[in-house]
C-alpha cells in the first residue's frame, strides 16, 4: 500500500513546518468563523432557546426515536438478508455455464442497477396493488429495496469470485471436483471471506436506503422524524438529532468494515506485501470498480 502522506511530500523542513503552522492557524480561524456564523444564524432565529432543545433530553421523545431507529434497523436487516441471498444467486447465474441463465441474471442486474429505487418504490406503491399485490407498509419499503440491492450485492459477489486466483478453481478441478463442488467448497468460502468488508459497507448504503420509508410512510427514523417535527414544530432540532442517530449507527458500521478490512489484510498478509504492485495481487482498480458500483446511494 502506498502511504499518500509519504507519496506527496517529504518530512517538512523548517520552512515547511512554518507553512504548516500558518495553514493550521488559518484553518482554525476559518472553522471558528463558520461555527460563529452558524451559531449566529441559530441565535438570530431563536433556535438556540433552551426550551427548543429541552424536549430532546426527555425520555418519551427518545423512546419514540429509538423505536423508529429499531424499525430502521429491522427493515435494513431483512433487506440485507434477502438481497444478499438473491444477490449470491444472481452472481452465480451470471457466472453460470448456461447461456440463458447468464443472460437472465445479467439483464436483471443491469436493469436494477440503473433504475432509481424511488421509481421502484412508486411502482410498488401504485402498480402492484392493481395486480392484487398489496403489501404492508414494511414490505412496500423492503421489496423495492431488495430488488435494487440484490443487483448491487450480485456485483460485489461476482467481482469477489472473479478476483480469486484462477489456480484455486483449477486445483479444485484437478482433484476431480465437479464445477458446483469447486464453487461451493473452494471458491465461495475464500471469496466470501475477502468480501466481508465490502459486504459490511454495503450495509451502510442499505441502512441509508431505508430512509425512503419517508416516501411510503413506514415509520422508520426519517419518517418518524418528520412526524415528530410537525408535532413539536422543532424542525431543525429534530432533523439534526435524526441525522446524528444515522451518523452514529452508520459510522460504527463503517468502522467495523475497516476493522474487518485490516484483519483481512493480516489474514492475506503475504499477498499484500508487494506495495500494491504484486503481480499475483488484485488489480488495485478492480476493487474500486465494485466499490463505485455498490457502496454508493
Amino acid at each position: 500500500m502506498n502511504d499518500p502522506q509519504r507519496l506527496l511530500f517529504d518530512e517538512p523542513g523548517p520552512r515547511g513546518r512554518r507553512r504548516i503552522r500558518i495553514a493550521t492557524v488559518l484553518g482554525v480561524l476559518a472553522i471558528a468563523a463558520a461555527l460563529a456564523v452558524a451559531v449566529y444564524q441559530f441565535a438570530a432565529h431563536g433556535e438556540l432557546a433552551a426550551d427548543r432543545w429541552r424536549p430532546f433530553g426527555t425520555w418519551p421523545i427518545w423512546r419514540y426515536l429509538l423505536i423508529a431507529l429499531w424499525a430502521t434497523v429491522r427493515a435494513a436487516a431483512v433487506t440485507a438478508v434477502l438481497s444478499a441471498a438473491l444477490g449470491l444467486l444472481l452472481a452465480l447465474g451470471r457466472l453460470s455455464r448456461r447461456r440463458s441463465l447468464r443472460l437472465l441474471a445479467g439483464a436483471y442486474v443491469e436493469i436494477f442497477r440503473t433504475v432509481p429505487v424511488l421509481l421502484l418504490i412508486y411502482l410498488t406503491l401504485f402498480a402492484l396493488p392493481a395486480y392484487g399485490l398489496n403489501f404492508s407498509l414494511f414490505w412496500k419499503l423492503v421489496v423495492p429495496l431488495v430488488v435494487a440491492n440484490s443487483a448491487a450485492f450480485a456485483e460485489i459477489f461476482r467481482a469477489g469470485i472473479k478476483a480469486l486466483d484462477r489456480g484455486q478453481a483449477e486445483a479444485g478441478q484437478a482433484i476431480g471436483l465437479r464445477p458446483a463442488q469447486v464453487m461451493r467448497l473452494v471458491v465461495l468460502p475464500q471469496a466470501l471471506l475477502k468480501l466481508t468488508p465490502s459486504l459490511v459497507s454495503q450495509l451502510v448504503g442499505l441502512l441509508k436506503d431505508t430512509s425512503l420509508g419517508f416516501v411510503v410512510s413506514f415509520t422508520e427514523l426519517l419518517y418518524s422524524g418528520q412526524v415528530l417535527a410537525s408535532y413539536t414544530h422543532l424542525l431543525i432540532q429534530t432533523y439534526l438529532v435524526v441525522a446524528v442517530l444515522y451518523l452514529a449507527v452508520n459510522a460504527s458500521l463503517s468502522k467495523f468494515a475497516r476493522v474487518l478490512q485490516a484483519r483481512d489484510g493480516r489474514l492475506f498478509g503475504r499477498r499484500r506485501s508487494g506495495s500494491g504492485t504484486d503481480p499475483a495481487g488484485v488489480d488495485p482498480t478492480a476493487t474500486l470498480v465494485t466499490d463505485g458500483a455498490t457502496t454508493i446511494r
Binding site: Q5, V115, S275
Partner: protein, 214 residues
C-alpha cells in the same frame, strides 16, 4: 390509447430537469471531490482531519435526510434557496464525498517513484499534484467515477421526495391522473437506463483512450 401522448411535453420537461440536475451536480461534485481529496492528502494535519470528517459525515448520512434537512429545516434559520438549487447543492455535497474517495484511491495507484521524481525536479506540493499525480490518478479511476455518476443520476430522483419536479416526480404526477402505473413507470425507468447507458458509454470510451496500462 397511449397515455404518454398527452403528457409528452411534461415528461420531456421532467427528463430535461433530471439531465440538468445530473450535469450540474456531477460537475460541482467532481470539483468538490478534487478539493476534498487534496485536503485528505495535504501536509497540514488539521486540513487532513477536515477532509476526513467531511467524507465520514457525508457518506454516513442518508441523502434523503440531508435533502429534508436542507429543504424543510434550514428555512427556519432564514436560509432559503430555489428548490432546484437546494437539491443541486445537497446532491453535489453528498456525491462530492464519493468522488473524493475515488480520486484518493486513484492517487494511491500512482507509483511512488512518480511523486519522488516530481519532487526531485523541484516541483512544489501543488505543482506535483497538478502536473504529475492528479492526471494519472484520474486516468486510473475513470470507471469508478463513471459508476459514481450513474449513482448520482439515480440519486437525483430523491429530489422528487422534496418536491423537485424531475423525471420520477413527473412520472408520478402523470400516473396520478392517468392511473397507468406500469406503463408510465416502466417508461421512466427506460429513460433512466438510457441515460445511465450514455454515461457508461462515455466513460468506457474515455477509459479506453486514457487508461494507463501498468
Amino acid at each position: 390509447m397511449n397515455p404518454f401522448s398527452g403528457y409528452l411535453t411534461e415528461l420531456g420537461h421532467g427528463l430535461v430537469t433530471t439531465v440538468e440536475l445530473t450535469v450540474v451536480t456531477t460537475v460541482a461534485a467532481l470539483l468538490l471531490g478534487v478539493v476534498v481529496a487534496t485536503l485528505r492528502i495535504c501536509p497540514v494535519p488539521l486540513l487532513r482531519t477536515v477532509g476526513l470528517v467531511y467524507v465520514e459525515v457525508l457518506q454516513n448520512l442518508p441523502l434523503l435526510a440531508l435533502l429534508v434537512l436542507f429543504v424543510f429545516a434550514l428555512p427556519q434559520l432564514g436560509i432559503t434557496f430555489p428548490l432546484f438549487t437546494s437539491a443541486a447543492i445537497v446532491i453535489a455535497a453528498y456525491e462530492g464525498a464519493y468522488f473524493a474517495e475515488a480520486i484518493r484511491a486513484g492517487i494511491n495507484t500512482v507509483g511512488i517513484g512518480q511523486a519522488e521524481a516530481a519532487r526531485a525536479i523541484g516541483l512544489t506540493f501543488s505543482q506535483s499534484l497538478r502536473y504529475v499525480i492528479l492526471p494519472q490518478a484520474f486516468r486510473a479511476v475513470i470507471q469508478p467515477m463513471g459508476n459514481i455518476s450513474i449513482a448520482l443520476l439515480m440519486n437525483t430522483s430523491l429530489a422528487a421526495a422534496v418536491g423537485v419536479v424531475e423525471l420520477t416526480q413527473t412520472a408520478n404526477n402523470v400516473n396520478l391522473v392517468e392511473a397507468q402505473p406500469l406503463l408510465i413507470f416502466t417508461g421512466a425507468g427506460l429513460a433512466y437506463m438510457l441515460l445511465a447507458l450514455v454515461i457508461g458509454l462515455v466513460t468506457g470510451r474515455l477509459e479506453r483512450r486514457l487508461a494507463i496500462v501498468r
